[in-house]
């Protein structure tokens, strides 16, 4: 039973981080129709910057207990990179998807060099933060409280995003723009501004995910590419552009991965992509996506 619980919590933790990155990807695609490969780079940037931010905060005498909110703040602060990058992406709006993919992939490579230039080639870690909040132990079951806090942060983000999109005027405007850009523009919506805000929000979801995960892991040059591949599996399963899809897709990927690692370690990747293939065959638009006519 304890082993089952350990595996379950491991899977949900992975799903929580995946959801944050995939949610940013979904939001940007849903509204702007841009497949943003650079979402993985935002995730990596959040991780690297989170380390630096906490190191400075610690030097300034900030209590270690404030590490989690500190990391969230550092992720949000990085939102400033959203508008200039969105400005650059305007050149490929409405053009063939291959242009978008090439441009956002170029961003991935450029970010990788920036990380190397600023933080060096060595992996960077934030060691002192992970266990500061303690570990819950019951018999053979144990989980660091930090992992639970990250899961909670993802749940709150999911609920907050849902409420924002469904229940606020701004959310309705976003959905209307996603639905029909020209009509929204004709009705007086400043679409450029909406795009800039949506892209920044998507970037902040990625940077915050990276900042939150770094105490448990390490920031490395390859983490962007590593994570974006899984995020795309989430998007395919959940349906491109669907926030509910991102949540369910992340849970499916996280849990399938966790259980296959335990029971069929050789088939970890196969198990995930079997689901992806099944979805593509039987429900090409994803579990919650709308089929493109």
């Amino acid at each position: 039973m304890a082993a089952f619980a350990n595996i379950l919590v491991g899977g949900v933790f992975h799903a929580a981080v995946l959801f944050l990155v995939a949610a940013g990807l979904q939001l940007v695609f849903g509204v702007q129709k841009i497949v943003n490969l650079a979402c993985g780079s935002f995730y990596a940037l959040g991780a690297y910057f989170g380390i630096t931010f906490i190191q400075y905060a610690t030097q300034l005498g900030i209590s270690p207990w404030l590490i989690l909110p500190g990391l969230i703040i550092s992720g949000i602060l990085l939102g400033f990179i959203g508008p200039p990058i969105e400005r650059m992406l305007r050149s490929v709006y409405g053009r063939d998807e291959s242009f978008q993919l090439l441009l956002t992939f170029a961003l991935v490579l450029m970010f990788q060099d920036v990380f190397k230039f600023v933080w060096g080639a060595n992996p960077r870690a934030l060691d002192s933060a992970y266990l500061i909040y303690g570990i819950i132990r019951t018999g053979d079951f144990s989980v660091p409280v930090y992992n639970l806090l990250v899961i909670a942060a993802a749940v709150v983000t999911a609920a907050g995003l849902g409420a924002f999109l469904q229940r606020t005027n701004y959310g309705r405007i976003l959905r209307a723009t996603a639905e029909n850009r020209d009509m929204a523009e004709a009705l007086g919506v400043d679409v450029r501004r909406i795009y800039s805000i949506v892209f920044t929000l998507g970037a902040v979801l990625g940077t915050t995910a990276g900042a939150l995960v770094v105490p448990t892991a390490a920031a490395s040059l390859d983490m962007a590419i590593e994570f974006v591949i899984e995020a795309f599996a989430v998007v395919v399963i959940g349906g491109l552009g669907s926030m509910r899809g991102a949540l369910v897709g992340a849970l499916i990927v996280g849990l399938i991965r966790a259980y296959s690692i335990v029971f069929f370690p050789e088939l970890e990747v196969l198990a995930i992509y079997m689901i992806v293939i099944a979805v593509l065959i039987f429900r090409p638009a994803g579990l919650f996506g709308r089929s493109l006519a």
């Binding site: 595996i7 491991g10 870690a125 060691d127 490395s220």
Partner: protein
């Protein structure tokens, strides 16, 4: 100023005498032309950190050699290219040889790249010395009898040493064994070698789970849960990239490191990231061919470590030693071959022939080249301690072994050799 015939003759005689003494070389040809050494090493991606270690050690060595007159009287110039995918690295190797006209190529960390490049090296007839990346798989088929290629010690040496030390320290104290190793030939072979040595010594054991995370996996919580569910007495792991400290951190948080014997032959690649906070004492920890804090280190090694610390605020790992060994043995071979030719610059074939059997002092200790062009080097592994002035673990008790005790003899099959080798435990 006019030079008299007497002055000219005196000078010529003095130069000749110095040349003959072997202290200063005056090759008959190209004395003013720099010696060009091509370096192929990763500077980005998962192996960027060891790549930088190797490059820095090479640059340190070159700076010293140039201050002393270079190699056999020729100053050294480095031409550094990136090691990346096999295809791209082969193209850069060809560029180094054909366009840059380098005299020797050194580097290579990845086994996959090394295997693909091997036949190209032979075809190009360009003297090449690998730093690393020499697991057993595919070597016999792809590079059976290399003439121009010199390869590092077998990558499985560290697993053999860890296996022997496991038996020495913990025989009779474990039964259930789990593995978490990177999912490529290095990880697979190391785990298989560990089990093969246990069998060789009739050590009762039962493998309860084997985990194969992809290199660079940063969330290992599910792997840790799987290991915990298997309740092993001992965990063997050759994780060695950024995933290693991540695993330790997550394993520590899950309570997996308490009471479990840990055997990590390759942990030294990330030694500065193995913080005391989550890396326990008493773990079997491999530093491969360079343990930076070795109290028995040579003055050369101590000087290098001090320079590295001062320059980079960091401590070197074994790839620095591999790179130093490559350039030091090349220098020694060139100078020995030049001396044998009376101070004339030796041919590439002369240098190759001189390399075989040559022994040099590397940063981690003695190193030499076998007749099959495979290196023998000095390995260090031991049990971790927190008793030091760093924030990461170092070794308390440790052992040093020369690779003649750890790698198969020329021509032998590795797996068959394990079954019959006379290991010293």
């Amino acid at each position: 100023m006019a030079i008299s015939r007497r002055t000219l003759l005196t000078s010529a005689a003095a130069v000749g005498a110095l040349s003959a003494s072997g202290q200063v070389f005056a090759p008959a040809i190209a004395q003013n032309k720099p010696l060009r050494i091509g370096i192929l090493a990763p500077r980005a991606g998962i192996a960027a950190a060891p790549g930088e270690n190797g490059i820095r050690a090479t640059q340190w060595a070159v700076e010293r050699y140039n201050a002393q007159g270079g190699i056999a009287g020729r100053k050294i110039e480095l031409v550094i290219e990136e090691e990346s995918s096999p295809k791209d690295t082969i193209e850069r190797f060809s560029k180094l040889v054909q366009q840059e006209k380098v005299d020797c190529v050194q580097g290579i960390i990845s086994t996959g790249v090394g295997l693909a490049l091997g036949p190209v090296v032979e075809e190009s007839r360009a003297l090449t010395i690998y730093w690393d990346g020499t697991t057993q798989d595919g070597v016999v088929e792809k590079i059976p009898n290399p003439r121009y290629l010199f390869r590092s010690t077998d990558n499985e040496c560290e697993a053999i040493m860890s296996s022997l030390l496991t038996i020495k320290y913990w025989k009779g104290k474990f039964v259930t064994v789990a593995g978490i190793n990177p999912d490529y030939s290095y990880g697979r072979n190391n785990m298989a070698a560990f089990i093969a040595v246990l069998k060789r010594f009739n050590i009762e054991h039962k493998v309860v789970t084997e985990q194969w995370p992809k290199v660079g996996t940063m969330d290992l919580t599910s792997h840790v849960a799987a290991l915990k569910a298997a309740k092993p007495d001992l965990i063997f792991s050759s994780l060695l990239f950024a995933d290693l400290p991540v695993f330790m951190k997550q394993a520590h948080a899950a309570g997996l490191t308490e009471g479990t014997k840990l055997v990590f032959p390759a942990a030294g690649w990330q030694h500065t990231l193995m913080k005391k906070e989550f890396t326990p004492e008493g773990m079997l920890f491999g530093h491969n061919t360079l343990y930076f804090a070795n109290p028995n280190a040579s003055s050369l090694a101590k000087e290098f470590v001090a320079w590295y610390e001062k320059t980079y605020k960091d401590y070197p790992e074994w790839e620095a030693d591999r790179a130093y060994f490559a350039i030091a043995s090349y220098k020694a071979a060139v100078e020995k071959a030049a001396k044998a030719k009376g101070g004339n610059w030796p041919s590439q074939d002369d240098i190759i022939d001189t390399m075989v059997g040559l022994s040099v002092e590397s940063l981690g200790g003695k190193g030499s080249w076998r007749k099959d062009h495979i290196a023998d080097q000095t390995f260090v592994q031991g049990l971790t301690t927190h008793k030091n002035n760093y924030d990461f673990v170092t070794l308390g008790t440790f052992e040093t072994m020369y690779s003649t005790e750890l790698q198969k003899p020329p021509g032998a099959d590795f797996w068959e050799w394990i079954k019959t080798a006379q290991f010293k435990v």
